[in-house]
């Protein structure tokens, strides 16, 4: 999509140069903090506090990573200025993966089912019910946060995976809305043909509608995966226990451990860097699709 007019219109070179500089600056500001995480994580713990203005890692070492990954004993960690209770990284990574994967799978599937019904099937109360869903989109999370916490407690689901996943497992108003818009937009013809062939509604949904909507479903799944992966307050409230603790919660807890009166920045940044890896992998693998996914939400 090149736009001819920008080339034909008289452009002042200086403005273009300035714009390029501004653009480069935006990139730099965007990337630098992430680089700084790596730089700190790769620096010697003691040097971090002394040589604060050096751009590259000071006293290059992998100790911070090793410490976070539990490759040192508690005594060694403490001697290095860390906490005895490090980040049990692999466990929290596994937990984050479990929670995000299952939650998103359930959420996408069940949302797709109901979105299909809202988009394609006629039933009494359809529009009213959908309007209710839309209203729920406006409810700030904090209104339902406390009652949901109580509910999970009463179900004895605190500190369990199902407790963390429950509220979003069957739907979120947004996912239903998103997919309904999508189903409204796709072509009826294949479904009609299947109906004439005598296929039942579930069969059409399963054999025709779902395969057609794989792009939309995976787009949505990526977005929701990232959102779930990044979620903090809810898993913090209901899943603090080690066994189900996810990465975001673990990082926050690690930060509040202040072994020397201040956080263990070297270890914290190493943990932060590691926690970015899965998101970055997803992004590299699904890069184009993820960017498109974001763009797609602009038109919901």
């Amino acid at each position: 999509m090149s736009r001819a007019h920008t080339r034909t219109a008289p452009t002042i070179p200086l403005a273009t140069i300035l714009a390029w500089i501004a653009f480069a600056l935006v990139m730099l500001v965007t990337l630098f903090p992430v680089y700084w995480v790596l730089r700190t994580a790769l620096s010697d713990h003691k040097e971090i506090y002394v040589q604060t203005a050096v751009l590259w890692p000071v006293g290059f070492t992998l100790d911070n990573f090793k410490r976070v990954l539990g490759m040192f004993t508690a005594e060694q960690s403490v001697a290095m200025g860390g906490t005895a209770t490090g980040i049990n990284f692999w466990l929290y990574l596994r937990n984050s993966i479990i929670v995000s994967t299952f939650l998103v799978a359930g959420q996408t599937f069940f949302s797709a089912m109901s979105a299909y019904a809202f988009a394609r099937l006629r039933f009494p109360g359809r529009d009213q019910l959908f309007f209710l869903y839309l209203t729920a989109m406006m409810i700030p999370g904090v209104v339902t946060l406390i009652p949901n916490f109580i509910l999970i407690r009463d179900l004895k689901w605190l500190d369990t995976f199902q407790g963390i996943m429950a509220p979003g497992f069957l739907m979120t108003p947004f996912t239903v809305f998103f997919l309904r818009q999508f189903f409204l937009g796709i072509n009826h013809e294949l479904e009609e043909a299947a109906t004439l062939d005598g296929a039942s509604i579930p069969m059409i949904f399963w054999r025709v509608a779902l395969p057609l909507s794989i792009p939309a479903l995976s787009t949505l799944a990526i977005l929701q995966f990232i959102a779930t992966w990044n979620d903090y307050l809810w898993p913090f409230l209901v899943g603090k226990n080690e066994a189900v603790r996810v990465l975001t919660v673990a990082l926050a807890i690690f930060q509040s451990q202040t072994p020397q009166g201040a956080p263990d920045w070297g270890g914290l940044m190493a943990g932060t860097a590691l926690s970015l890896v899965p998101t970055l992998v997803i992004f590299l693998v699904f890069g184009r699709r993820a960017v498109n996914a974001i763009q797609f939400t602009g038109f919901r």
Binding site: V34, L129, L132, V143, P147, M171, T248, T279, G298
Partner: protein, 298 residues
């Protein structure tokens, strides 16, 4: 007869299937959205502390809310944040989107721009907490290197809220830019060409064509970012915990503090109900004012 009957039967079957399809999401909706909302509303009429039995206190919490200077302060702080955050972020994002549109459509650049948005709020907060540390933060080293006094940033009542706004702008500007960029792609280039033939300059085209035609996307961006920024919490939970003093005690933090520090669930839910009312009002006004669904293209 049969011709009349069959469609009705089919319709009934269709409705049956439809309800079966909707059932899981309806359960999720009722259990985790609808009932909790109502339960929250009911809780706001009690003095519940989570451990002891709740007592019905009528509208006492609401009466207290009306006279609560700290709540008014929290609203003020939140509004201050939103008013700082939204205009700067949106303008910046628009600028980036236009630049992308003109200079580069590379996926890599778009990827870099959304990178901050991919990071958890927690991580973003930690990164900046470290960069902005009053004594050892890199930013202060630069400031001192340039011969200025180092700044407390998150440690001062004046700078804390603008700093938090800046952190969130960093996280969201690129993401917002991508949304706006996508919006720019939908504007037919013929319109620009026609305008160029009529002798319009870049500036006139920007304000005469781009902005009006971008309106649906802009409205969407504004509605979601405003709602989102009213609910700022994670960044504050990690960096300032509402402080220094009460400079960053936004409504969301205030609710959290009452619910999970002071364990006054009744009052905490009262504040959340108030926040809900405020948000729904703002959304409604926005939708009305911007007439969201129509662009000037229609």
């Amino acid at each position: 007869m049969t011709t009349h009957r069959q469609p009705r039967l089919a319709a009934r079957r269709e409705a049956l299937y439809a309800w079966a399809f909707v059932a899981p999401s309806l359960i999720g909706f009722l259990v985790f959205f609808a009932v909790p909302s109502v339960r929250g509303l009911l809780m706001s009429f009690t003095n519940w502390d989570l451990l002891r039995p709740a007592k019905f206190v009528g509208v006492a919490n609401y009466v207290r809310l009306l006279g609560d200077a700290d709540f008014r302060h929290a609203l003020k702080v939140t509004a201050y944040y939103v008013l700082m955050n939204i205009p700067i972020q949106t303008t910046l994002a628009l600028g980036i989107a236009v630049m992308m549109d003109k200079f580069s459509k590379s996926t890599i650049i778009r990827g870099i721009l959304v990178l901050p948005w991919l990071l958890p709020n927690i991580v973003v907060a930690l990164i900046w907490l470290w960069l902005l540390d009053p004594t050892m933060g890199f930013l202060n080293q630069i400031i001192m290197g340039l011969g200025f006094q180092r700044q407390p940033f998150l440690g001062s009542t004046d700078q804390a809220m603008p700093t938090i706004a800046a952190i969130n702008i960093w996280r969201h500007a690129g993401y917002t830019a991508i949304l706006l960029y996508a919006g720019l792609q939908t504007i037919p280039k013929e319109i620009y060409e026609a305008a160029a033939i009529d002798g319009a300059n870049e500036r006139q085209m920007f304000f005469g064509i781009t902005i009006p035609l971008l309106r649906p996307v802009l409205v969407f961006v504004l509605v979601t970012t405003i709602i989102g920024s009213f609910q700022i919490f994670d960044t504050i939970a990690i960096t300032t915990k509402g402080g220094p003093v009460d400079a960053t005690r936004v409504v969301y933090w205030y609710i959290y503090e009452y619910a999970f520090v002071r364990f006054k669930m009744g009052y905490a839910t009262t504040i959340s109900v108030a926040l809900f009312v405020i948000l729904i009002t703002i959304t409604f006004i926005q939708m009305r004012y911007f007439n969201a669904n129509s662009s000037d293209l229609d």
